[in-house]
C-alpha cells in the first residue's frame, strides 16, 4: 500500500454526454482478448476511435447522467485506469461501474453542477481533502460530497488487489 495519501488530482478535460454505457467504454467483442492492455486500444471505439492515442496520462473524463450504465464488465473501469485516466467526474454513476472503478483505484466524483460549465481541454484540479474542484480561469469553486472512507481507502491502496495482497501478506 503506498504510504502517501492522495490529496489532489489535476488534469485536462474530455467531455462526454449522458448514459455513457459499458458497451461504449469497452465493446463486448474485445472482452475475450487476453489482457486489459490489449483491450484498452479499443476503449470508446464506438464513439472515439483510437481514443488511446489521443489522450494523455492524467486526463479527466467528464460525463452527464448515469455514467457506466450497463454490464458488470470491470474491463470498462480497468481500461480507464490502464490508460492512466486521472478521474471521472459525472452527474451520476451507474452503481456497478462505481464499485468497479474504486476496486481498480480509479477515482470517481459525482458533481452535477460542474459538468455543464466546462468544455473539452479545460484544466481542473480536484481537492480530495476539502472535497472541492477548481477550474483554471474560473473563479467558482465546486463542492462535492466527500468520498466515503471505504472508497478513499481503496483509492489510496491502489485498488482492491493491493488491499487484499496486504491481507494475505505473510508479514501481516
Amino acid at each position: 500500500m503506498p504510504s502517501k495519501r492522495i490529496i489532489n488530482i489535476s488534469g485536462r478535460i474530455w467531455k462526454f454526454g449522458d448514459n455513457i454505457d459499458t458497451d461504449i467504454i469497452m465493446p463486448v467483442k474485445y472482452l475475450s482478448l487476453s489482457s486489459i492492455g490489449e483491450m484498452s486500444q479499443y476503449a470508446f471505439e464506438p464513439l472515439i476511435p483510437d481514443f488511446h492515442t489521443k489522450i494523455q496520462p492524467g486526463d479527466i473524463l467528464v460525463g452527464g447522467e448515469n455514467w457506466g450504465c450497463g454490464s458488470s464488465r470491470e474491463q470498462a473501469a480497468a481500461v480507464l485506469k490502464i490508460l492512466q485516466i486521472g478521474a471521472v467526474i459525472a452527474k451520476s454513476f451507474a452503481r456497478i461501474f462505481y464499485r468497479n472503478a474504486f476496486t481498480n483505484g480509479l477515482c470517481l466524483i459525482g458533481q452535477p453542477g460542474l459538468v455543464d460549465s466546462v468544455k473539452d481541454g479545460d484544466k481542473i484540479c480536484i481537492d480530495l481533502i476539502n472535497s472541492t474542484i477548481q477550474i483554471d480561469n474560473q473563479s467558482t469553486t465546486y463542492n462535492f460530497s466527500p468520498l466515503s472512507s471505504m472508497m478513499y481507502d481503496l483509492l489510496n491502496a491502489g485498488g482492491l488487489i493491493p488491499y487484499m495482497q496486504k491481507v494475505n501478506s505473510p508479514n501481516r
Partner: protein, 421 residues
Amino acid sequence: MGNTITEKIIALKSEQKKVNPGEFHQIKVDRVMIHDLFGPFVIQQFRKMGFKKVWDPTRVVFIFDHLVPANTIEAARHFQEIFNFADKMNISNVFEAEGICHQIMPEKGFVYPGDVIMGTDSHTCTYGAFGSFSTGIGYTEMAAILGTGEIWVKVPETILFKLSGKLPSGVDAKDIILKIIGDIGTDGATYKTMEFCGDGIAGLTMSERMTICNMAVEAGAKNGIIPVDKTTSSYYYQYSLSTDKYLTISSDDDDAVCHSTYEYDLSKLEPMVSCPHTVGNVKPVSKVSGYKIHQAFLGSCTNGRLEDLRIAASIIRGRRINPQVRFIVTPASRKIYREAIREGLVQILIDSGAIVTHPGCGLCAGNGGIIGDGERMISSNNRNYIGRMGSKDSEVFLGSPATVAASALTGYIVDPREFIR
C-alpha cells in the same frame, strides 16, 4: 420502525440487529456465479491477491453461456482456464452450454429466498424474483469473495412499486418493467433497491417475476426484489428442488421507510417498447408501429423462457414470418429447449421460418445475429445500446415476446394485441 426485505437480508448476513440505508457493512455471501466471459479475469485477480484456496467450493458456480458456441479462438482458452481452476479448487459446479447463467442458477437450485448471491454479470439482480438479495459485481471483487466469502455493501434505499390489477391479454411482464423504466429513467433507481409488491405481483408467474427483476439494473438499481409467496415455493416443487435452505424473510413491513413509492394499475397497461439507443426511451408500441424491421430476436435472460416461447408460438402458429425478416429464437436453457421441443413449440417456430439456436446468451452478448448498417431489430432482450447487437448505424427496439413475434410476422413493429388468439 420496520425494514424492507433487502435491509432484513443485509442485517441477517452482516450479523446486525438492524441496518439503515447509507451504512456500509461487510456481509457473508451465500453463493457466487461466474460466467465464461470473465472467469479467467477472476482467476487472475484471485492469484494476484495471494489467495490459495476458495473459501467454499460448494458455493461457487461457473457457467459457460456468453461464449458458447465458441465464435472466437480465444473463447476456448476461457473454457480451459476455468476447467483447470475448478479442478484445482474442487469446484464441481461447472455448467457448459447448459443455458444462460440467470436461468441456470434457479433451475439447478442455486437460488433461495433470503440468500445473498453475487455474480459477475449485471443481470444477477434477476434472482430477486425468488426473494434473494442478488447483484452484479466486477471480477476483482469476485476474486475477493472467492478468497474471503464476504463483500462490503452500502445498504440501499428502497423504492417501492405497488402493482395492482391484472394484465390485459397481449400485455406481459416485459411491458410492466419497460413502463416503469420509462417513467423513472435509466438512472431512476441508481444504487437503490426496486421492491415490487401488491396483488398485481402476486398474480405473476416466476418467469414473469424474473423478467421484471432482471431489468431492475436497467433503471440503475442495485437489486430488484419480490416478496416470497406461494408462487415462489411452488417453483421449488415444480423443479424438484430441495427446500431445506428455504428461508422466509417476512415480507415488507408496513412501516418500513422507503425512498419513494410508485403505484401501477396493471389492467391499464399497454404493450411498450424501448426505442434506440437507451432503455429509458420507452413508448407505447402504438407510437412506433409501422416501423419496418429486418430482424426479430426472442431470447436472453429477460425473455427466453418457456412461457415466452409459448407466447411467440401461439401468435405464430400456422403463419409464416415475413420473408424479409430473420427471426432468431434462442431458448434460455437446455431444459427449456427440450421442453419447447416436447410441446411442439420448436416445430411451430421452425415451420414459420424462424432460426432456433443453441441455448446461451447468443445475440444479446453479440454472438450470432448481428445486424448491419441501417438495419432495425425488435428484440426481447434487455439492452438496446449502440453497437451491442449490430453495426453502430443499426437500431434496436426492445419489446415483449408477443410484440417481437407479431412484428416478425408483419415485418414491421406492431401492437401484438390484434394477434392474440
